[in-house]
């Protein structure tokens, strides 16, 4: 019996199996545990984590209940990016905006120029010249702290937010969230 073809098939199988095993076809990832964990940058799941932390602090504080009218008018003014990365802070503020709107306690002032123009015109027609002032303003800052120990790298991202009561010009609430990641290299997931 000629065993050469069988040996060739066995060799090819052994050679190509590990290579094909390394290739991962693209897939949609919906579970946070399967998302890539980067040591030195803010991952998509970190934004949710940070937003969740600050929202829980904000709701627990009861600061939103100080408004005389509900929903209270609110605006996000500025969230400063003090990290080494180029990031769009809307990734944080939009999540906070959605959750706060869901709560029914606040209504966000639109930043749409046309919408403001129409509202101004309607106010003018109605003889109402009072400016639409927000009762609350949200501002904040995102910071980064890095550390290394041997080959282990660590990045901490700090998300600071303030809720300003514009009637008294005081910080009615201040919150902070932290996301710290550590390792020698990025991981495909956080399942361990």
């Amino acid at each position: 019996m000629n065993t050469k073809p069988l040996l060739s098939v066995a060799f090819l199988t052994l050679f190509f199996a590990p290579i094909s095993g390394c290739n991962q076809p693209a897939r949609v990832v919906t579970d946070n545990r399967d998302k890539i964990v980067s040591i030195d940058q803010i991952d998509v799941q970190d934004w949710s984590n940070a937003a969740d932390q600050v929202l829980q602090q904000l709701f627990a504080s009861g600061a939103l209940d100080a408004a005389p009218i509900k929903p209270a008018r609110i605006e996000v003014t500025r969230v400063v990016n003090d990290t080494t990365q180029r990031i769009d802070t809307d990734l944080l503020t939009q999540k906070i905006k959605i959750a706060l709107q869901q709560s029914g306690k606040v209504a966000f002032a639109s930043s749409d120029a046309r919408a403001n123009e129409v509202a101004d015109y309607r106010d003018f027609k109605a003889g109402d010249d009072a400016p639409r002032l927000p009762f609350f303003v949200i501002n904040g800052k995102i910071l980064e702290i890095r550390a290394t120990a041997g080959s282990t790298k660590q990045s901490s991202f700090i998300f600071q937010l303030n809720l300003v009561n514009t009637a008294e010009s005081i910080d009615a609430w201040s919150g902070e969230a932290e996301v710290t990641k550590q390792g020698t290299r990025n991981a495909k997931n956080s399942r361990g």
Partner: protein
């Protein structure tokens, strides 16, 4: 004969390991898998209202193992009719708990319609 015994033992082991990995202990509100099924005691569940009408849940999880552990958890909120409420911040979060220590995981529903919750605890080690 020896090979039959070996195979039987191997098969039993595989079966037992498989069963353990798939074990899911579950109540209506709290689901656990992996080592959490046996070594994570849920000690206290507190349901309170914050900011007038928002449901807040605090769950104390005890690690009964003699070493530090890590787990993932996810809260989901439901309205009175059992419909899942959307949250922009939903998803698994990770928590570390020291040997024999407690860790409190919390969540606040951003939707005042939230009437019930489900907490899923999964192994992260």
């Amino acid at each position: 004969m020896r090979s039959v015994i070996t195979r039987t033992l191997l098969f039993s082991t595989v079966l037992l390991v498989g069963c353990y990995a798939n074990t899911m202990t579950s109540t209506q509100q709290i689901r656990k898998d992996g080592w959490l099924s046996s070594y994570a005691n849920v000690r206290v569940i507190r349901e309170t209202k914050v900011s007038d009408d928002l449901l807040r849940v605090d769950v104390e999880v005890e690690n009964t193992q003699p070493f530090n552990a890590r787990f993932n958890y996810k809260f989901e909120f439901f309205d009175a009719e059992g419909r899942l409420l959307f949250s922009p911040t939903s998803g698994y979060l990770q928590e570390q708990v020291a040997a024999g220590a407690f860790s409190t995981v919390t969540a606040t529903a951003s939707d005042p319609r939230a009437a019930d919750f489900r907490l899923t605890l999964t192994n992260a080690n």
